[in-house]
Symmetry: C5
Subunit: 91 residues, 5 copies
C-alpha cells in the first residue's frame, strides 16, 4: 500500500468494459512528508477522493477486491485502487 | 494502471501459442504531462490502439482478464495489456 | 520480503471496510546496515510493531494471508503487511 | 511483458525440483533501440532462445503457465519465462 | 527470478506463525558479473544456502510453492524464496 496525492483524472471513452462507470484518478505517490517520490499511476476510486486529497493506494488482486463500483459483470481488469483518504500522518 | 504512449510493435514468429494472433505493442510509460517516465514495455492490445495514442496499461492477472483476442485455448501467458485509450488528462 | 523501519502511522477515517480496525504503519525500507534504501510504504501490522522497530514486510497475496485482525468479513484489499520484528542482523 | 537480450545462462545443480531440466537464461532487459535499460534477470526458456537473441519475457503467474518443460510434477516455483523471440521492432 | 549473493540472516522471535522454523536469509541482488545491482531483500531458504553463495531467488506465489520447510499449517505469508545455488555463470 502506498501514499499518494490525487492530482487529476483521465477521460477514456474507448476502454475495457469492466472500467465503464469507474472514476480513474491520476495519483502521484508521496512520502509521509508529502514529498513526491515516484511516478504517477492511475487508480480507480472507491472512496470519493477529490483532487488534492492524500490517499492510500493498493495494487494487484487487492485492487480488484476493493473495486466494486462498475455495475457490470465484465471480468475486472483493474490493478490499482484508492482504498482510503489519509486524514493525518502520525510520526 | 499506468499511462503510456504507443510507439511501435514487435514482430515475433516463434512465440508461446497463447500469443498467436495478438497485437504486441511497444509502450513507453508517461506521466500526465506526457513526459516519458520509465522503461518501455510490451503490451497486448485490446482496444485497437494506434501508434502515438496515449493509453492505459494494466499488469498481472488483470492483464490476462482483459486479453481475450487470441482465439485459441492455450493458457494465457500475457502479463501486460492496453485496456483504454486516453482522450484527455483533467488536472 | 524486505526489511524496514517503522516510522509512524496513518489515520484514515474514510476507507475500505476491510481496513477498519487495522493499524496502518508507515514503514521505510532499510538494508541490513539500517540505511534507508527506498520509498516509504504503508503496511498493516500483525505483530504489534512500534515506532523505531526494524521489521519484515511482505507484499501481495502473502500480505493478505498474514492480515487477520480486522474482525469483519469484507474482502481484504490490503497488499502490504508487517509479519515480523527483527531482533538482530547476523552478517 | 518486457524486451530483453539473452546474454548467457546459469548452471545450478542444487535447486528446486521443479526447475530440474529447465534452461535458465540470463536476460538483460532492453528498449526498442536495443539499449540495456534495467538489471539482469534469470528466465526459463520455452522457445529455444539462443545467446544474442532478443526475446519477450513475462513474469508471475503467466511465467508459470508458459513454463511446461520440466517433465515432473513438482509445484512450479518459476516466476520469469521467455515466451517469444523478437524478429523485428516496428516503429 | 533474480541472481543474488547471500550476505547474512535475520533473527526474528516475534513473527508470523508460518515463518517459524524457516531460515530467513539476507540476499543482495547481483548481475552475472557478480556486481551488486539493487537493494537487499530477505528470502526464505530451501536449498541450504550459506553466506557467500550465489543463489536464484523467486518472488510471489512461486516463493510460497517452493517454501515447504515450516512444519506447520499456518497460511504461508512468505513472498521471497531461495530456490537454487548458482554453480556457474555461462556467458
Amino acid at each position: 500500500m502506498y501514499m499518494a496525492k490525487v492530482i487529476g483524472s483521465v477521460v477514456s471513452t474507448q476502454k475495457d468494459q469492466s472500467l465503464v462507470g469507474k472514476k480513474l484518478m491520476i495519483v502521484r505517490p508521496i512520502d509521509s512528508d508529502q514529498e513526491p517520490i515516484r511516478f504517477e499511476q492511475v487508480a480507480a476510486d472507491t472512496v470519493n477522493a477529490g483532487i488534492g486529497d492524500n490517499v492510500l493506494v493498493v495494487r494487484g488482486a487487492g485492487a480488484r477486491r476493493a473495486d466494486n463500483g462498475a455495475g457490470n459483470n465484465a471480468p475486472d481488469v483493474n490493478d490499482c485502487t484508492i482504498v482510503g483518504i489519509i486524514d493525518r500522518f502520525d510520526k
